[in-house]
Symmetry: C2
Subunit: 395 residues, 2 copies
């Protein structure tokens, strides 16, 4: 429940039936409370809203609207993540196993056995207008870039070498051709950087919003494949780069950690890895759960990105920079589980090409823990279990 | 121009600006003519229409509306195909070449060199509500089935052995979960038939219509890969199955010719192949063009499906069964270019598992030709060059 004060404005819309995924909040309205609801695109901010069941007349707290608009991406993300996790569990249960499928649904990418000791790595991710970017506000080239980049990040999380991609593109009818050209321009520039061949595609002009479903194909790097489930007790938890505030720009411009991953896999022992697409705590929880371990981290050690500070300060999100770093998502950095001695060597190696930070370790047990000296408290993966994205601590 | 007579009805909508892809026709309205426009989903029939620039008042010929609704899939297909061909040519020009990409954009599937003499085959196709099926009218399981089937058909056209698929799924918010389950049910049943592992996917709940972008991965079959560009002069043109009228049901229920292709590739010399997704004439033209040859066919030899006859008779399409067989699309049968002696053997082989028909041969030259004895006339790929989908012959 959020209780906010602020200037009240007249509500112009009557309550109506809710048909689609909505974000709800509770408003303090003078002496009473009301239920406010906001339909949002995470990246396009809010679009439509209404309030209902008001105790003190048809008034709406504008402050709350602005606030909701800013936090809704996180809230919505939490909601869709819960659905996504359920769905992945369901699929993992119903999908038949085949001998050629070495790593199936549930990791960052799948690994296929092509026979004769040859393996392929494959990942697919969809990005679309409204969910992953706001086409009204960005150069479409950035949408194309992001569509490939999020997939390359999945290959990086497996320490795989990207080889090729195929591109399924859904284009709104208006200016479809010129939009397609801009989208491809951004995608191809990144593909060239990573020497990824665009092997094929399907371009679909339709009545829906822009979407891009890129499938990337790769080969295991010379250091072998990383998985989520290989962490061992005492492994140090390392993260690349710095975290939080990605929505201010990094989510469109990040560099997938492909080269860094290939270098590390070839030169160090790494037991498990994942990329941070849904927030540090959530993705860390995935590695811990898959490995059957607990993860202990020091909140003081988290490398907070300056963007997380800007987001907290300038956008009035009511969340500290650290909270953003823990749960914002779309950092596309890597979490690694590394034996202690290897971690020590790694942290001193300038050839890694990106900053590395030790933030904790894996231990026997389960769950996420905040540990500082003798203090130990349970952490909840933000925006995931009960949607407490602005209160990740406690219990 | 179509001049139709029929009962006239009052037009209720004023002309307005056309923003999206529309199908136009010319109406005879009493003593004058009018311009009619119809916005359609090929599979959901018409949805919205208006007329403008009337010479004789605001009247609309209902007959034309019905007629348009039936032929619009073909017309729209022609239109989108022209765009698609332009776009593929553009991509083929701008996409850089990489050594690992053995067959790139422009064939049914791409072929990748994984190193050490290993090759992979990959194809992606999008199907969506409104463009490839009408979700209001079908079991969603059939949408899932079709999404995989069209891709398996692409692998069949390369004589490749399917191994795995990844599934990018866009779900409308309402009843997303139960819709996803039904879609997967159809998809998985077909996957099991062909022993295709679902290796991964991305499920995206959004404000757009249902779409499925399935990427299939395969291995070259024991008989090697077929391409479009290998036809040689004197090769016999064979087609599997029978053609036309697919929209009456086959487009949802067809069996991709994977087994047939693998058997033929292993036991016979086949110079080139393609699957019939956009109509016999158009797909045949693609093989001829890619191989630098002309294709001569006997119209009397075309195996016309009973559905083409039903479509012509019952739906009043104003097109003969033969015309449907030549240009309807979505048959998902194979066109093969085969040396004459091999073709003779093939035609007598009951183990092929599907009927085969010799419909003509490839010769030096260019274009498509109708040949019966001494008579030779040029054919135009229907719905492709100028949108003459109901007049494929002539010149």
């Amino acid at each position: 429940m959020m209780c906010l004060s602020g200037r009240s404005v007249q509500c112009k819309q009557r309550p109506r039936k809710v048909l689609r995924g909505l974000y709800s909040c509770v408003l303090r309205l003078g002496s009473g409370f009301g239920i406010g609801t906001l339909e949002t695109d995470p990246y396009c901010q809010w679009r439509r809203g209404w309030i209902g069941k008001l105790h003190s007349g048809e008034v709406l707290d504008r402050q709350c609207w602005a606030f909701s608009a800013v936090i809704s991406p996180l809230k919505l993300q939490g909601k869709s993540l819960t659905m996504e996790l359920d769905w992945i569990r369901y699929l993992a249960k119903i999908l038949p196993r085949y001998p050629r499928l070495v790593v199936g649904i549930g990791d960052d990418a799948a690994v296929l056995d092509w026979g004769a000791g040859n393996y392929g790595v494959v990942a697919v991710d969809v990005v679309s207008d409204g969910a992953d970017f706001c086409l009204r506000e960005i150069d479409p080239a950035l949408a194309g870039r992001k569509a490939l980049a999020v997939n390359l990040s999945d290959l990086a999380a497996m320490a795989a070498q990207p080889v090729a991609a195929v591109v399924a593109l859904g284009l709104p009818r208006q200016d479809a051709r010129s939009l397609a050209e801009r989208v491809y321009e951004g995608l191809l520039a990144l593909a060239e950087d990573y020497q990824v061949a665009i092997a094929g595609g399907d371009t679909h002009v339709w009545d829906g919003p822009l979407f891009l479903a890129v499938t990337v194909l790769g080969l295991p790097g010379p250091g072998g494949i990383w998985r989520r489930d290989g962490a061992k007790p005492n492994d140090v938890i390392l993260v690349t780069g710095s975290l939080g505030g990605s929505i201010l720009g990094k989510h469109l411009h990040f560099r997938p950690r492909v080269r860094e991953a290939l270098y590390l896999a070839q030169n160090y022992e790494v037991h498990a890895a994942i990329d941070i697409s849904d927030g540090l705590l959530l993705d860390l929880a995935r590695v811990a759960e898959a490995s059957g371990l607990a993860a202990e981290i020091s909140l003081q050690a988290i490398p907070v990105d300056p963007a997380a500070e800007r987001l907290s300060r300038e956008k009035g999100t009511n969340r500290s920079p650290l909270e953003h770093a823990l749960s914002d998502g779309e950092d596309y950095e890597l979490i690694l589980a590394v034996p202690p001695q290897e971690a020590q060597r790694m942290l001193k190696d300038p050839a890694v090409g990106v900053s590395l930070t030790a933030i904790g370790r894996f231990v026997e047990g389960e769950g996420l823990w905040h540990v500082e000296g003798n203090f130990r408290a349970r952490l909840e993966p933000a925006g995931y279990v009960h949607g407490h994205s602005h209160q990740p601590f406690g219990k």
